[in-house]
Each structure stands twice: as C-alpha cells, then as structure tokens.
C-alpha cells in the first residue's frame, strides 16, 4: 500500500495504515450486525401478521395502532420513533460512521476520500436526538405495560417463556434508554453549579445514576437491539405454530 510522508498536507489513500492488528474485525462485525437487524426488522415490520399470540405482543408492533383503511403493516406507523432514537444515538453514530461510511473505519486507518462536512445538511438532524429520547421514554412505558400483560393468561397469572422474553426486552430497552447521553444532559449534565442551582443535589444524584447506565451504553445498545429482534422472532414463531410457548407456571 502506498504511503504519504508524515505531516504531509496530502490526504492519505483510503485505508492506509501501519496497523498490523485485526482493526477491520470491529467495523465488519458492526456492519454485519446492523445490516442483519435492519433486514430482519424491515421484513418483520412489513409482514403485518403473526405479531401477537395470547398475552404476547411483538415489540415491533407495540403500541398496536391500526387505523381504519390503513393498507400497510401497523408496525410502519410506530417503528420510526425507536428507529430515529437509535439513528441519532451517539453510540450508533460511532458505529455507522465507522462501519458504513468509513469516516474513519478504525483509529489511525485512513478515512474514505469523499468530502467530510460533519453535522451539515441532513446530518444536522442528529442534534434532535433529545426529541427521539422523549419518544423512547414513552416506549419504555409501553413495553413495560406489555411485559406485565404477558403474565396475564386469560385473566389469571401465569408465566410462559414469552413472559420472560418480553420482560427482559423491557428491561434491556430501559437500560439502553436510561443511559442516553441526551437524558444525562437533561437530568443534570446541563448544570454548571450543582450547589447553587435549584434542586442541584437531586439533579447531581440523577446525573450520577444516568452516568452509571451511560458507561455501558454501547453494551446496552447491542443487547437491547438483539433482544428486541429476538422477542419479535419468538412471538412470531409461537404465533405461526412453529414453536410452542412453554408454560413455567
């Protein structure tokens, strides 16, 4: 691979690096993971059937909104909100800039040669992450409600594998949402002087709680992403009769 002189004002050729470790594994695994999720979600969202069984409702279809005369899958009406939350999330920005746009693909590996403009044009909407966060909080409430309902089998309490799957889904989505950088800012990160501001001590405490979740934001992002897809697949397979939901209680 050709190389530029250190300190040169000439841009380096795409992917130029002296790194000898497997730097490409990270972006490639990220790209495959995100692509697999996107393909599955798109397919599942367009099906418009097999999204519920008994007390279980797929998180891709929750809340279930079916306006009269709506010709498409109801999932399309709601998925833009959690999708927008993840698309504007600071962690996912890192992942898609590295994995899909190669800006840069990895540290000290030359970035893609196209003109880089930062948060300009469409990318300025990345700054609206906090609005998607508000909607994501609403989804945490809705998915928690779904998880509680998943223990209600024809009016009596029961536990099926699906109840646990949907409960874990709500927990993982909540852990991801509560670690959001915008939330961290809004609860207390925006305060300069906690000891002077009104409710400063409480805001400092809240900021520390959100910081706790924020430290593992990437991990929660991936766990919740995988599990929400798995939850849909589980409900779908049970609904289609391919697998049987095992009752624990």
């Amino acid at each position: 691979m050709s190389e530029t002189t250190p300190g040169s004002s000439v841009s380096r050729p795409f992917l130029e690096t002296r790194r000898e470790d497997n730097w490409w594994v990270g972006p490639m695994a990220t790209a495959m993971g995100l692509l697999a999720f996107t393909v599955y979600t798109t397919w599942a969202a367009l099906q418009g059937e097999h999204y519920s069984w008994g007390p279980y409702l797929s998180p891709f279809y929750s809340p279930l909104i079916k306006p009269e005369g709506w010709p498409l899958s109801p999932a399309i009406l709601i998925l833009w909100a959690p999708g927008g939350f993840r698309l504007t999330c600071y962690y996912y920005r890192k992942s898609y800039y590295r994995a899909f746009m190669a800006m840069p693909p990895a540290c000290a590996v030359a970035a893609a040669p196209h003109k880089y403009r930062g948060e300009r044009a469409l990318f300025i909407f990345q700054n609206l992450h906090r609005f998607f966060f508000y909607l994501a909080m609403l989804f945490v409430v809705i998915l928690t409600y779904d998880a509680i309902i998943a223990f209600n089998f024809d009016g009596s309490f029961g536990i099926g594998v699906g109840s646990i799957v949907l409960t874990l889904n709500a927990v993982f989505i909540a852990a991801f949402t509560f670690g959001c950088n915008s939330f961290r800012h809004l609860v207390g990160g925006n305060v300069d002087c906690y000891s002077c501001a009104s409710m400063g001590k409480q805001r400092h405490l809240l900021w520390r709680v959100v910081t706790f979740f924020n430290k593992k934001h990437m991990e929660w992002a991936w766990i919740s992403l995988f599990w929400v897809g798995f939850s849909d697949a589980y409900v779908r397979l049970v609904s289609m009769g391919i697998i049987t939901d095992m009752r624990i209680l």
Binding site: T4, T5, P6, G7, S9, S11, R12, T17, R18, R19, E20, D21, Y90, R93, K94, Y97, R98, M103, P104, C107, A108, A110, A111, K115, Y116, G118, E119, R120, I124, N127, L128, H129, R130, F131, N181, S182, R184, H185, G189, N190, V191, D192, C193, Y194, S195, C196, A197, K201, H204, N214, K215
Partner: protein
C-alpha cells in the same frame, strides 16, 4: 539475550524511510528505552523528543505499529516481537526530523480560547467551590497535552480541516463551560468558531488517550448537547422566548 528488530522512521519533511535496528530486549523495557538504545549505539543523530519517561510530560508521542501511543508507556511485552516493531512520528503534524514533529499549531489554537473569567470573590475574599461542582472537570485536568488525540482525529488527520479545534481543546472548553465559577458564555463560539459539529463521535481520541480521559462521553458529547439545546432545540427556543432567558445562559 533476545533481540528485537525495530523499523524507525528516519528523515525530514522532504524525504524519509524506515531503517532497521536490532535492540537487545531487557526486562520491563519500553519502546522509548529501545529508541534510546538505538540512539546510544547505532544512530547518534536520531531525533526524538522526550522528557519525564513517566507518562506525564506528553512529549514522546509516536505511532507504534501504526497506533498512536506514548513511547515511554508502551511496554515491549504488549507488542508482537516475532515481527519488527515500527516506530514513526505522529502523522498529523509537520515533521521536523525523524520522530520529532512540530506541534505548535496546537498552541496557536489554545490562544483562541478565552481564559476563565471567574465570578467576583466572596465577602471573605475567597472563591469557594464544592466538590460535587468540580468533580466532572477534575478528570479533564489530567490531560498531559501529548496531542495524541489531535493526531488521531480523522477530521484533521485525513480531511485536513483546520478550523476544527480538536479533542484536546474541546476538553479545555468543557473545563471552562462546566466550571462553577466561570461567567463567560462560550456556546456560540463552540459552534461557529471551534466547529464542534465536525466531531462525529467515532471516539478515536478516547481510545488513544494515555490518561484514559473520557474525552468523547464526558466532554465532547456534553458540549454538543449544550450546543444542541442552545441552537437546535425548538422547544428550548420557545421556553427562552417565554422566560426571556438567553440561548447560552449559564445555569
């Protein structure tokens, strides 16, 4: 005694090449020891900047096997020694000679940041700050100005954008913006002059920081959120309209 092969960049801004040297390995050796060994035995004219050899002065930044690191903090036992170890200068900055680069651009950028303008002293003549108010910015004070973060940031390294001040100076801005005593409003210059919008959160600055400062999560993202609140948030704009507060008012 086991020998390790080093390929060290030798040259100036006109031309240069990697030259091979053999160095005997000793216990606890770091890359800077090897460079000193080469300097003492084979290449007396090898230019290298260093000072404390303890990871505190930030002088010996280089690219070791392609990764930006401090030479004095890179132990040989973390490197694969079955292959030659490559040592090159930081690629972002103009080369002076061999492993020495001219980092003076950073000092010029630093001058553009307005210094702390504290509130008036209290009646007893002191400035008081509570621990809870300063603990966030204490992390930023660990910065040793090695400029490895400035070196690895693709905005400057690959796209050659020089009106972006870079992670080191966003850290400094965060120290001031979050300072409980500072009275200056700095959000507009962060957006318009220091061009924080160029940072796309790929976190390479955080990855290479030898002081393990959470550059992106604890400084840049909180600054971006403040800028978003001041200039991109229509609800915040409406709130300011109703309350008469300013976009970059301190809280």
């Amino acid at each position: 005694m086991k020998e390790v092969t080093f390929r060290v960049f030798r040259g100036d801004k006109e031309k240069g090449e990697l030259k091979e040297y053999k160095v005997p390995l000793s216990e606890g050796m770091v890359v800077l020891d090897a460079i000193h060994e080469i300097q003492a035995t084979e290449a007396n004219d090898l230019a290298v900047r260093w000072n404390c050899k303890a990871g505190k002065c930030g002088s010996c930044g280089a690219e070791i096997n392609g990764k930006p690191r401090l030479m004095c903090m890179t132990r040989m036992d973390v490197l694969p020694m079955d292959k030659p170890v490559t040592v090159e200068p930081m690629k972002r900055f103009p080369l002076v000679k061999d492993l020495v680069t001219d980092v003076s651009w950073n000092f010029e950028v630093n001058k553009r940041i307005r210094p702390l303008k504290p509130q008036p002293r209290q009646a007893d003549g002191t400035h008081r700050m509570m621990q809870m108010d300063v603990e966030r910015i204490q992390e930023f004070h660990k910065c040793i100005e090695c400029f490895l973060c400035q070196n690895v940031c693709h905005v400057m390294r690959d796209h050659k954008i020089t009106d972006f001040i870079g992670p080191r100076f966003l850290i400094r801005c965060a120290t001031l913006v979050m300072h409980p005593l500072d009275t200056e409003n700095r959000l507009r210059e962060l957006k318009d002059d220091f061009r924080i919008g160029y940072c796309n959160i790929t976190k390479c600055c955080t990855e290479v920081c030898p002081e393990e400062i959470g550059i992106t999560d604890n400084a840049i993202i909180p600054l971006k959120e403040r800028v978003a609140g001041a200039f991109y948030d229509p609800l915040a704009w409406l709130w300011r309209l109703l309350t008469g507060k300013k976009a970059d008012q301190r809280t």
